[in-house]
Symmetry: C2
Subunit: 621 residues, 2 copies
């Protein structure tokens, strides 16, 4: 089983040691000099760097709006008011625009990342208004909905997004809220028929919102046409009073993001004009005739979901910003905090410990790599004609980046010992704020199943399996093309295994057959995303070898291989000998990366007011 | 390398398929009927069940003291007062006693677990006073320190424990605080010579404490004798005023445990009577002669550290209680919350999803298994003559249980979706409170290195390696003795590899040589603890097969094997074929355990006022 098949691999994937530029990067050599400006440009992306720098400057120029103490000086109500103030100031200064959602996604997505270097509270407050409210209005609406644009742009009106109900979250198709057309008055009647149909977690609706886009079952002439979106005014702009028939309660205190006002909304036969239906795909005429450009309610539903691609990219940028700041905090602390040493009078900083390098450098690499992969998704979004794969890949990167980010922040917290536990040192705040990303806008486990279903639906997943084993000298593990071949072989093998499991299931119903093997589907989702990311990064590195990105690509990849080592070796995809050498190679690579980690942090260009004081304890003296 | 050597294994470990009772449990068969009362007795332990039931009854009988809303109705100051009130009430009602620390560790440790079903705030408040202050006074003091007992028992005086400094946490030997003997006045002078020498994180000292045990370098006649412990009064009992020369600041807001008043203490030449030295091992005579029963400062230091075994067991019980409540919340919710299904009108509860079973059942098994392993450590403590291994094993179980508990609580939070993020549903509170366990009373990474050093110091680690591969039919994985042999082989192999790495290190200094391979040492620590736990559980199951503990033992063990599958397979300890079958076996086992999971939760016997409402959303309707 474990025969030496290196020639085999080379033949299969058509590489040899010198043919490709990724090879010529020679990753089994020290990291060369790091040019921080070049690295910053590469990580920010040439398309986005100017927008990002405007946002950075805005944070730096407004220390009163973005104090180093973050929200610690405020009580709960005060925090919400301050977050609103931050969002309004960003909007009125034009750092981001309402129209960006449809016309310039590159700007909004990247600006959000920069504000999330400061806090996910402000980026979420902005994201809900611009991408969720703005996204539904701009992607699902038509000319008749343009009237909201100008006021929404300046945050003179604030929008929210009412999809989730108490009874239904990720399973959107199960929503209960109804929008019944009344031919007599030419209105839709929005109603919450049951306690569980109340809209819940509606960000921005608890206190500040004026409008919300409600997702409800469109009922016309007794027929249920499935989920459609409607603009519903909820508060009077002048008096800020909630309109009759609508009950809004606060969702209460949360693990994090307490600067965002989540509300619970109940509609009791609330009437809105017919025109408030966002009618890009489907409409009801004045005299009550329903029509849809799409052939089935399922297709209509799918079209209605399209704006969420932007939303998912946006929230994962929240994970990116938070990770960068937390990694900065933990790594900087590790370079100043002394603990243990060869003797009591010769204590060494934490970063000299191999364990500290091992636990901090891999998340640092992951953060950079995910960011660069996101450039591609954002380019696809901005092109206006994204490929079909974008659904799966935006879902996938949202899930894996948020999971890894939450784990990274936990690592940062522990890596700082007790100081990581102090609120003043901010890591716990970032972690608590970001935690929700794992389950909102699609629970990660559900999203990974979507990725798996996408892979299983690809024609390539039916191709016969080719024999594959990565074997040979340790040098093989330094070649990114080899590792890509390994990831391709894993994806193919897993897809065939998952298909076989479903086919051979004792469950007859397709739902139950899939249901019984979800962990394997999630694993397939990971395998696919890791392959996609590595493939994109190889292309990126081939175009421009910016130190230390090739080495970070390698560290990311080897880290992921180690996480799945059992599967890879027991299924014969990686030789035991190479597997045995992996931990040492990773540790060496972490050591190398740690030596340039300060420059990597510099390239993040994090405004100082995002960060606590450098050594985390100075305020105590 | 992967030859079929099952006969070999059987010969080596002297088992055959029928000889041992663990075999005869036949774990490749469905879980038999679960008797909740028997299960409760087994998990609580016969030695502790009565103490635990007293504590449970105390919580149930005092709903005003332990409201279902926990601390949500209180502001920060109010929370601290309420926690103090809870602790005092527990003390004055005799649920736990100050003398328990030395005379009845079984009671204090188990009572703490029950209160941590409610909150780690109250268990930590009690633990600091009883085990840290009480532990140092009782373990390190002598007859002359008995005077504190009666008042401390009723919490009329409150004690704290001043070890950590701003500049030194886990590296206790680096502490800077001095205690200089003044022969003239027969006093010790306690001093904080530098800003970094200020005591920090001193639980119970911020607001409420009257006494603290200070760890300081004993200086006598110009000579530094290393770290010793001293009782220092910090506040007047009558006026509650802080004594002259002592400055106490609050440590500020934290990620969790905000009901515990952590303080920062600075001593400026504070004089205490000579008798306040806790002099069990070392003393200074009135006329200034230092003597020690121990030959070197290092040994004195080690003796001074002894009370922390109890402390570590105690805080890991905090992780146990919190895990049990969080698992209860998430599993109960998974049995009522519907989401997805074969059709929209046939939605199924979350617990029908294989992914939900997979992520919740393994942590449930781990929690039960760790608890039962802890019985052994507690019996050793209670025996008064614990074996030398107890240092390493108490450190090890503290580290692995707290890491797994924090991960389990994260899983519980995500498994409940958005409802897991609502403060009212308590998971986030438990998680935040428990997080500190990973780094306090010995950072987990440091503790795991201690375990590794213990293993490397065992004579058995020098024995020549025996060839070992677990191979054969899937049935092999259902046999706990086989798995124990696998764990033994892994430990031996890892120990030899770590030794070789250190020996062959390019670093000449022993500190740096070890430093370079910490992640491997931590891995060895895990391997050793897993072997110890499985070994203890096999003995436990052989004595009494209480359903479903044998199956939980298997699930715990297979889960740990899966976490380390890459190492096991690539080093030839487990055959690729068995490894391939592992995920399916684990999933099947999770399915089986999920069917009795409600009974397991029942056996935890968690008072209702520890828990939020059952379906987590009822309060919203």
């Amino acid at each position: 089983m474990y025969t030496n098949r290196i020639e085999n691999i080379i033949n299969q994937i058509g590489i040899n040691e010198c043919s490709s530029s990724a090879d010529s990067l020679n990753l089994n050599s020290p990291i060369g000099e790091v040019n921080v400006a070049k690295l910053k440009l590469a990580i920010d992306s040439p398309e986005a760097v100017e927008y990002k720098d405007v946002a950075r400057k805005f944070i730096r120029d407004n220390p009163a709006l973005f104090p180093r103490e973050h929200y610690m000086g405020f009580d709960w109500a005060g925090q919400r008011e301050h977050v609103l103030k931050q969002a309004k100031s960003i909007a009125t200064n034009g750092v981001v625009r309402f129209a960006d959602v449809s016309k310039n996604p590159t700007r909004i997505v990247n600006v959000i990342e920069i504000f999330s270097l400061y806090s996910n509270n402000v980026s979420t407050k902005l994201g809900v208004h611009y991408s969720l409210f703005g996204g539904t209005v701009q992607y699902l609406g038509t000319a008749r909905h343009q009237k909201y644009m100008a006021d929404a742009d300046r945050l003179d009106i604030l929008g929210s997004f009412s999809m989730t109900e108490i009874g239904h979250g990720s399973n959107v198709r199960g929503l209960e809220t109804t929008a019944t057309y009344d031919k007599q008055t030419k209105e839709f009647v929005i109603n919450s028929p049951t306690p569980s149909s109340q809209k819940f977690w509606i960000g921005g609706a608890g206190l500040h919102g004026h409008f919300t886009t409600v997702f409800a079952r469109l009922i016309n002439d007794g027929k249920d046409h499935g989920i459609h979106a409607f603009v519903v005014p909820i508060r009077d702009r002048a008096t800020h009073k909630v309109f009759d028939g609508i009950t809004i309660k606060d969702c209460g205190h949360k693990m994090g993001l307490n600067g965002v006002d989540n509300g619970q909304l109940r509609f009791e036969h609330v009437r809105i004009p017919r025109e408030n239906l966002l009618n890009k795909y489907s409409d009801v005429t004045e005299d009550g005739v329903y029509s849809s450009k799409l052939s089935t309610p399922i297709k209509n539903f799918a079209a209605t979901m399209a704006p969420f691609i932007l939303g998912r990219v946006l929230i994962v940028k929240g994970a990116s910003g938070a990770s960068k700041t937390c990694l900065s905090i933990a790594i900087r602390y590790s370079f100043v905090r002394k603990q243990f040493g060869p003797s009591l009078d010769n204590e060494q900083v934490l970063m000299t410990l191999s364990s500290q390098k091992r636990r901090l450098m891999v998340p640092l690499a992951n953060t950079v790599i995910y960011d660069i992969y996101l450039h591609k998704i954002i380019q696809q979004l901005a092109s206006g004609k994204p490929p079909a794969s974008i659904h799966a890949h935006a879902s996938g990167i949202k899930a894996i980046f948020s999971w890894d980010a939450v784990a990274a922040m936990q690592t940062c917290r522990e890596a700082c010992g007790g100081q990581g536990y102090r609120t003043a040192n901010l890591i716990s705040e970032f972690k608590a704020d970001c935690d929700i990303i794992c389950t909102y806008e699609g629970d990660n486990t559900v999203l990974m199943q979507q990725v798996a279903k996408y892979v299983l639906g690809l024609k390539s997943s039916d191709a016969p399996l080719k024999p594959f084993t990565l074997d040979g000298p340790a040098q093989q593990l330094y070649n990114l093309n080899n590792l890509l071949a390994l990831f391709e072989a894993r994806e193919a093998l897993l897809a065939s295994q998952v298909k076989a499991m479903i086919k051979n299931s004792k469950e007859k119903d397709a739902y139950y057959a899939f249901n019984a093997i979800i962990p394997f589907a999630v694993k397939l989702g990971h395998a696919h995303m890791q392959k996609e990311i590595l493939s994109e990064l190889i292309q990126f590195n081939n175009k421009q070898a910016v130190n230390p990105i090739p080495h970070l690509t390698l560290l990311y990849t080897l880290g992921k291989i180690e996480e799945d080592l059992g599967y890879l070796v027991s299924n014969g995809l990686l030789s035991p000998k190479l597997a045995q050498q992996l931990p040492t190679i990773i540790l060496d690579l972490c050591d190398q990366v740690s030596k340039v980690s300060k420059q990597i942090l510099e390239s993040f260009d994090i405004p100082q007011n995002c960060l606590p004081i450098e050594n985390l304890v100075e305020d105590l003296y």
